[in-house]
């Protein structure tokens, strides 16, 4: 095979890996072998051949197609990509330089990262003016005695303002800053992909559920239904697998083999009954959890439609049972409206200790040794110590308590409540749909 083509394919597979598509060496070899069987001057045939060997997930097909079109683009198209890439780089550098000029204190540049400067450049004039105004006032009112610390104080305030702005404008800013691959063509293709690649379902998987936009909700709901189905499949499989460890049913074996003069022709086995775990779901619907709650209830709804044995509760100031809303064939949107209309606690404060106490008092029959309790909450609650005591008491009656924490994992260390409950309860991150997927694949019920 032509060495240039060989090198090109290897480079292309390297590019695919950078976009997140898993390509093994074996697949690269297969792709090279495949090219000996096809007419690679036929672009469509060439593309299908590479796709069928290098892509193994439906969700990656669009990314592959887009990457293929950019990489194997005609020469003029590649030149255009290169020019656009250079222009974007130049423009970004210019914006950063302008930000540097604005962000000075006593004619000295504030110590901000490139990312922070870029963030500033993306702000509208009004927000920029507020920051400039603040620096100006600080310059006018500063005391000479505090001079060395004033600058770092201002830097911290500016950084805080930038973070706050980013939080509310995440949709508008692209902070992806790729590390250079050392190959200029790959760099600009990757940059182009960042700007123009079709959004794949997977990108929603990594978005904080709180920030999923309304227009993406139907897609998110579909993903959630799929995840619920996967979890149910796992739960039922786990128990069915135990059927393998069959026990010989001696009584039935002897009885059945009497007709053969006692020779054991036919063996009879005892099979274990298939049991699914009993689940009690407790979902936080306090003010800060609204978006998570609606998505997670969708997840619970998905599980309910397949697995009957679930008791579902919502809590904020107190606990409310909602299992009766989940009946076969119910419409999810109507169900949400019903739950929200009926609920006296939706969007309230968070008093988990009170809610757990209600669970223990009013629903004690549910707390059996084969039940798993799953709590979905960001752990932000009143009376942490009382909550811990309630959890300790409940833990003694049930098989296990699992906590799906919607607080981003990097913030767990700073959260007192998370750290306190984590000492007693197994905690799993549940901030993105990807986290939910990980939970469905983990053996959390073992």
């Amino acid at each position: 095979m032509d060495k240039t083509l060989e090198a090109n394919i290897v480079r292309f597979t390297h590019l695919l890996r950078l976009t997140g598509i898993k390509v093994g060496s074996g697949e690269v070899i297969d792709a090279l072998n495949a090219l000996t069987f096809i007419d690679f001057s036929d672009r469509e045939q060439f593309k299908i051949a590479l796709r069928s060997i290098l892509v193994k997930r439906k969700g990656e097909r669009d990314i592959f197609d887009h990457t293929f079109d950019l990489y194997f683009a005609p020469l003029e198209e590649r030149e255009r990509q290169q020019i656009e890439h250079q222009m974007r780089q130049k423009q970004k550098q210019q914006q950063i330089e302008e930000a540097e000029q604005d962000l000075t204190f006593e004619e000295e540049k504030l110590e901000l990262s490139e990312e922070e400067k870029y963030l500033y450049s993306q702000m509208d004039q009004e927000d920029k003016s507020k920051i400039k105004e603040y620096i100006k006032k600080a310059e006018e009112g500063k005391s000479r005695i505090w001079e060395p610390t004033v600058k770092s104080l201002i830097e911290n305030v500016v950084k805080g303002a930038l973070r706050k702005w980013l939080h509310s404008h995440q949709d508008q800013v692209d902070l992806k800053d790729r590390v250079s691959t050392g190959d200029e063509q790959l760099d600009y293709i990757l940059e182009d992909l960042d700007h123009s690649a079709p959004s794949r379902d997977e990108s929603l998987m990594y978005e904080d559920m709180q920030h999923i936009k309304d227009k993406d909700l139907p897609k998110a709901n579909l993903l959630i239904r799929r995840l619920a189905k996967h979890l149910v499949t796992r739960i039922s499989r786990r128990y069915k697998r135990s059927r393998r460890h069959q026990l010989l049913d001696l009584r039935r074996t002897i009885r059945d083999n009497i007709r053969y003069g006692g020779t054991m022709f036919k063996l009879k086995y005892r099979s274990k009954r298939i049991q699914k775990p009993k689940l009690i779901l407790i979902c936080d619907v306090s003010g800060s959890m609204a978006r998570y709650a609606s998505l997670v209830l969708q997840f619970i709804y998905g599980i309910h439609s397949v697995l009957g044995q679930i008791e579902s509760f919502i809590f904020s100031d107190d606990l409310e049972k909602i299992s009766h809303h989940f009946h076969p064939g119910s419409d999810f949107n109507q169900l949400m409206v019903d739950i929200m209309n009926e609920s006296r606690i939706w969007g309230g404060g968070t008093r988990l200790h009170k809610s757990l106490s209600t669970l223990r008092t009013n629903y004690s029959t549910l707390l059996t040794s084969d039940a798993y309790i799953i709590i979905l909450s960001d752990t932000k609650t009143e009376a942490i110590d009382d909550t811990l005591q309630e959890l300790q008491a409940i833990k003694k009656s049930v098989k296990d308590i699992l906590w799906l924490n919607t607080l981003p994992e990097q913030e767990w260390e700073k959260s007192k409540s998370t750290k306190t409950f984590q000492a007693l309860i197994k905690m799993y991150p549940c901030n993105t749909l990807n986290d939910i997927e990980k939970i469905t694949h983990s053996k959390i019920f073992n």
């Binding site: 045939q45 299908i48 189905k229 393998r244």
Partner: protein, 293 residues
Amino acid sequence: MEITMENIRNGFEEVGYISDPEVIVTVYLALKLQKPILIEGEPGVGKTELGKVLSQIFHTDLIRLQCYEGLDENKALYEWNYQKQLLKIQIMKETPSCDHVEDDLFSREYLLERPLLKAIQSEKKPVLLIDEVDKTDEEFEAFLFELLSDFQVSVPELGTLIAEKIPMVVLTSNNERELSDGLKRRCIYLFLDFPTVEREVAIIKAKVPEITDKLTRQIAKAVNLIRQNTEIKKKPSIAETLDWARALLTLNEDGLSEKVVKQTINILLKTKTDIESFNKQIGAAALDEFARS
């Protein structure tokens, strides 16, 4: 039949399997590279059918392993014929010289071949269809690795059995669970989506030739619209489209109407929830109007 893209395309056409270049190139490469094809897609898009069609066009046996939860090696690969072995022991009790009984008992004579072993032992290159592989457990999936990469299996008493003719392997999955990377790596991947309106028109014409062009087009457009609705959980399969077409033909209809859609929608949608969703989201009148446009 020589493996060429042209021959595969003609073969598919002859047996009425309407496909696009993606299917043809993927099948061609899988056969040339002697790799299994892993087909994913919604139920009813023609995944299993592809395995059957391959056996038809290559005039060879179709060996089918239907996967289910709890499927194990005994049911998929081989089992010793326990009853026959016991009978042999009983007979040999009467015979004084029975030194070689133990060896005999674990010879091929006492081996019950299950689909995978049958495919390996076959004298003529068969099509091995491993259907709905996502329904099996992860352990079974790992067990398939040896078979799918080296086309050999190990039977402890007999040693390693290597395929005499490498079978054409087709695995199908409804994506109920994510398959392992190990399995995917060993396969060539094909995602079968629901057909486009044009392709579905061609399928209906091939399978129900008596139907008019006008009705064919209306059916294909209507089914396509229903499939796009996210609230409908069980999307109509190609087989259901064909059933609908045949039903309309039996009713002597030459075009869709609101009344006929209402009367026959249960052929396409099989659950009460889906029919309710259809009535709420689309409705017979709107479907009829869209199909006629």
